[in-house]
Symmetry: C2
Amino acid sequence: MAAAAATAAAATAVKQDYEALCKKLKEVSALSGISGLLGWDEMVFLPSNAVNSRAAQKSALAGVLHEKQTEAEIGQLLQRLQAANLAAEGLNEYEQATVREAARDYRKLTAVPKELAQREAELESRGYQAWVKARQDSDFSQFAPVLQEWVDLRREKARLVDPSRPVYDVLLDDYEKGVTAARLDEVFGQVKAGLVPLLADLRARGKAPSGVEIGRLCHKIAVALGFSLDSGRLDVSVHPFTGGAHPTDVRMTTRFKQDDLTEGITGAIHETGHALYEQGRNLEYDGLPVNQALGMGVHESQSLLWERMVGLSRPFAAYLLPLMREHFPQLPTEQSPEDLYAALNIIKDPSMIRVESDEVTYPMHIILRYELEKALVEGSIEVADLPRLWNEKMKEYLGCEPESDARGVLQDVHWSAGLFGYFPTYSLGAMYATQIFKASWARLLMGDAVGYKTAAEKELPGLADDIAAGKFERLKGWLNEKIHKVGSLPASGDELMTSVTGAPLQPQVFLDYLRDKYSQLYQL
Amino acid sequence: MAAAAATAAAATAVKQDYEALCKKLKEVSALSGISGLLGWDEMVFLPSNAVNSRAAQKSALAGVLHEKQTEAEIGQLLQRLQAANLAAEGLNEYEQATVREAARDYRKLTAVPKELAQREAELESRGYQAWVKARQDSDFSQFAPVLQEWVDLRREKARLVDPSRPVYDVLLDDYEKGVTAARLDEVFGQVKAGLVPLLADLRARGKAPSGVEIGRLCHKIAVALGFSLDSGRLDVSVHPFTGGAHPTDVRMTTRFKQDDLTEGITGAIHETGHALYEQGRNLEYDGLPVNQALGMGVHESQSLLWERMVGLSRPFAAYLLPLMREHFPQLPTEQSPEDLYAALNIIKDPSMIRVESDEVTYPMHIILRYELEKALVEGSIEVADLPRLWNEKMKEYLGCEPESDARGVLQDVHWSAGLFGYFPTYSLGAMYATQIFKASWARLLMGDAVGYKTAAEKELPGLADDIAAGKFERLKGWLNEKIHKVGSLPASGDELMTSVTGAPLQPQVFLDYLRDKYSQLYQL
């Protein structure tokens, strides 16, 4: 009896600690939500004179957030909770994951002294200015000194966070939990080996299809895909993005270019994928780390699944074409859904610019950046070598050489903010998306079967017909259950892939998808 | 030499304390700005599902704000600064006023223990619910218990803030600095005595003028009056209001009623007056209490100056009519600016409802509420007496009796939130507005002259012609200098009136304006 009572009292203490922790985490989550709203408003509505006052507001809020996130009491609660046997105390898997994720965040945040954080904040604005100027002048040497500072700062930070692991692995963890450079080498090595011959084939022997004009249906399509206007807003901004304050308050934007309407539609579908993830987050664990997105790669997988697996598919073209005719009666009537499908999937000429590239060439841009930034952080190459190495790799991977630093090594803003480890998530997202959509492919790959079947055929029979008919609820519901609600319960993208598709990330699924699709389109 | 050096060191210490104080005050100001943006967004854009998450965000931010505002270090800095001779230390009048206002705010905030603040917060939502229900059922007795709780809580709070002053004076100070019940008795007594015969005359002998239709020109007019779209936004909401995050980021809304277009236009002009005050705040003292609005009465004076002195004037009708014709070509061509002027200035039938009343009857609604809430707080009447006293006073002051509690004592939300001392500011604002616009009237009243001349004739010669021509820059500039930039430098509305018009508030200026205007309009 006495022993049972003591156990009950301990269980109560653990539960109390857990509740106290949640209260603090939810306060932090609410304040982060505000920060999301400030960011959205800045992009969409901020009056031009208010730039400085908004900066002061963001800085004040960031200061408060940091104070709250690093409170000593959170550390004490976490210490006690981590010492306890949480499962035995009756905490479910989501609650245990909340403790795990909160401890991870707290460890990272408190590992960095204030002085280092201030140097980072200062270098962020200086780095951005230097990059803008260097790109304007297309002169890498102007940018090199601040880039060197970032390399030094990031090494210092990684050593503070976890001196036992390679620097690049520690940095990667900020953007994609649980991924290592060793795993990326494996994945990207396989992708590179598969893509080089495919690109060569497409260029040497492929016949590019022709296209039709695309219209402004973005908002209609976003709502059709499942974006809830009761839990968010759709607006227009210079660069499309998805932000907001809460899963019930997701602010998504689109843009329309007069000269490239395709980009408007695919961009809107892409952002809708991000927004559906946000709106689908698990409100049962609202405000706790476990309901947050697993990582940037997984987030990107949701945007790319809707953009590429759905939006760029044959059945979607069948759905889209009549919708376009409804909005643009002047469209030529002789175009077929197959023409539209082909137009949406043209592989552009090999591009110098990552953001202008297509799904076949994009991974090569990413692999190039990954190899360079990893080598830089590890110290096997120097900042000064970057322009030369960049151009050499462009020639090797994409068969073209940039005519200037501006269109080469200086084209992306990321390194000016010290974001090493961010680029890989774009391509991880593309591969996750393919494997999630074609989930049973991965299952079959791992074992018992003879060929690929898509998730559509296995888990959601009739999905292609649904898409052609503009019915997206089943797919959205499936993703809600399998990905969105699960949030940060798995500790890595590979864990998530295993639970959803039966295997960790399989780059071959991605390569087969590309070869299969483009062989047909380009009549290889 | 040593004494001079010691003085210099002390000056430095005071300056350092002042700078440290300002840093903290600016942080609080930035966080308050965020709170303003959250409020605006909630009224204009919040998705319906996000009500709870927004409440959590507001509550988290309010908690942070309260922590920051009541930090012990602010108290220590203020104590040292108040002990020093700030003028001798080289602090200018704005800097001295910053210390004075910050000390006032700090004293008030720290006087209320957390437990009382929590009871207030709890009663706020309970009071609102009870009021909504009671008004629905038109049953005051349902509302009486929470109103009694508010009376008790407010008395308790006032005693904590300043036990040496009458309770109502302490409460008033939250909304209109430096005003006392004794001063209000004087001012409102004079207004009441003057308005009763005017209303009687208008009703007995006046002939109401006829009107023309008014259109949706609100945004155009707001910009014409001087609203800067580089420092704010114009949107539409159910109830028009002016809010936002900063003087450079003022968010103003309007509304359009199909059946009462006049209300749309005068409402937009009213809100523009508030917005011009906000956009005109003194950025040299950005984020400090001295750049804040002096009080709610003075703020209301700016909205009412533009609405009544400008928007409801003859020259404005001359400006407005062609603008309306431009937007509404179907308007009858035989209407003159004089017809429009008359239509905008119709005195409605005596109304039960404060918010539907006109500028002649409005003060009587306010005086009624002032007399009742003061007596309630002082304890000379009981909550249970309110419905009877309300109806008696309505009959006495406005000649009509409400047919139900819902249209009588329960019509306003203010008391449900314990806002005693707020109502007087509406009418103070109306009187300030008249006196500011007709500034030289007040000067003449005090001394050397023979009759009234308007500010237009004395300080801004040709103002009436400017208004008729749609030129508002000079008036806006004058208000920027005299009122907006001055902010909280004066310690009360009477001080501000004295500096702008040469005399403290003179209710006679307001009464003369009304009698003069309406005698003409109603051909008395």
